[in-house]
Amino acid sequence: MSDTILNVSDLHASYGPLSVLRGLNFEVNEGQVVVILGANGAGKTTTLRSICQMCDTEGSITLRGTDISSKGTADIIRLGVGHVPQGRGTFAELSVIDNLLIGSYTRSDDGVQADIDRWFEMFPILAERRDQLAGSLSGGEQQMLAVARALMSRPELLLLDEPSLGLAPIIVEQLFETLQRLNKEDGLTMLLVEQNANLALSMADHGYVIESGLIALEGSAQALMTDPAVQAAYLGA
């Protein structure tokens, strides 16, 4: 049994009067890729935002045993959470290299340049465009930049919010190959929110299905893939 990195129990979340999550329980173990599936409006994005305290939450969220539900976003990032937000969070008016430096904002060690070189190697197109404004990059390039930027903080847990959204299938395939490599080679733990259930389950270890703010189903990725309810609702089988 591997160590639990993230444990969420009885999580309620709301935006002002609008309640979105109504008592969520799930966990993410070290080295795993965990996927959260669900229809539009089910609360997937809110789940990730809750972990970083970007909305009002109740309930417990622990990162390696430390309760983070009352901490500020900046502190949670410092504790080792990387967040690739929906819409990619690009700093459009800044260069690619500055975008990566922002990713290393919480660090004070001298390994930043080495990490930049490393991600440039993994995403060569970013190296080519290092001095361009990030806003001029294509959607796929911006998504790669968002992943690389989040990795610059050397997170233990990477949250990915619909990375495939709006990308051409070939780009999505490349991106997921890279993510899989990061998981296999670096042992990076990921919590992935996706609409593309097929793709997500194929690289995940474990999965949860959210329906109207509650966990409707959970199981190993394989079990979910063959589950008739999941097939009917999300896999189009």
Binding site: A74, R78, T90, I102, Y105, L137, G139, S153
Partner: protein, 315 residues
Amino acid sequence: MDLTLLLQRLFDAVFNGGIYASLALALVIIYRATGRFNFAQGEMATFAAFVSFLLLTGPRPFLRGGSVVGLIPGVPWPIPLAVLGAVLFGIVSGAATERILIRRLERKPDIASVNVTIGLLLTLNALTAELWGTGGRFFPAVFPAGPDDHLLIGGARLRFTSIGVWLTLLILVLLLVLLMQRTKPGLAFRAMSTNRASAELHGINIGRTLAAGWALAAGIGALAATLSANSVLLEPSMMLRVLIFSLAAATLGGLDSPKGAVVGGMIVALSQTLVPAYVPFVGNELSLLPAVIMMLLVLLIRPAGLFGTEQVERV
């Protein structure tokens, strides 16, 4: 056309241009940080200049009913130290204003922020008048300003104060560029002004960065007010006109561009001296007119200004 006179008018514009540019720079910093104007920028600067005056006045405090001067060690301070004191006061009070007042407006609509900063303008103006009275006071010149302190170029006089203001402005812009482009707090500021939610997700403390932006802007404003207090006389409304010209300058140059603020400040100052001099029906009383017309034209033709970022988004 009398060339010497033209040259003199150009030189006359230099001093005002430097002051407008400085205050426009402060407006631009806050606009970049918050997407909003601080209409109280001028009055905050005036108040800081009065603090500087307090440090300069020595044993005869002009402060109504007050003996505050007695509490400040070493008063009267020499002028450079008193200016520095005003700048430091600006920095601290700027950060405090953000922390206490402006942060509460974060999630409120823009109009709330407009109302509050205009309210702050009126409050500070009244407070300054209450403490020091409404009469103009002599404030010593920061740079040599005697009758002979000028360079004679083509028969026209370029005063040392004008040169001093521009040198100060250039150093200020240079430091600002270094701060923004080469330091980590500068990177945090640029990240915040480009995409605040994303900046937060990279561990940037938005509150602290905003407060730093307000501190910086108020410090620059304080410098602008103390540098101009000698020529316009120190009085509670001394920066009101300057604020309007600086708003025009910032709009003209592009609201998010420091370079635009400097160029805009100069263009506005030039229009202010040249248009009344050479356009027959515009008298000195209408010297505000060209600035306002330019502001209007910019907003109609090129809302992003000369150097501002146009809002283009790739989706």
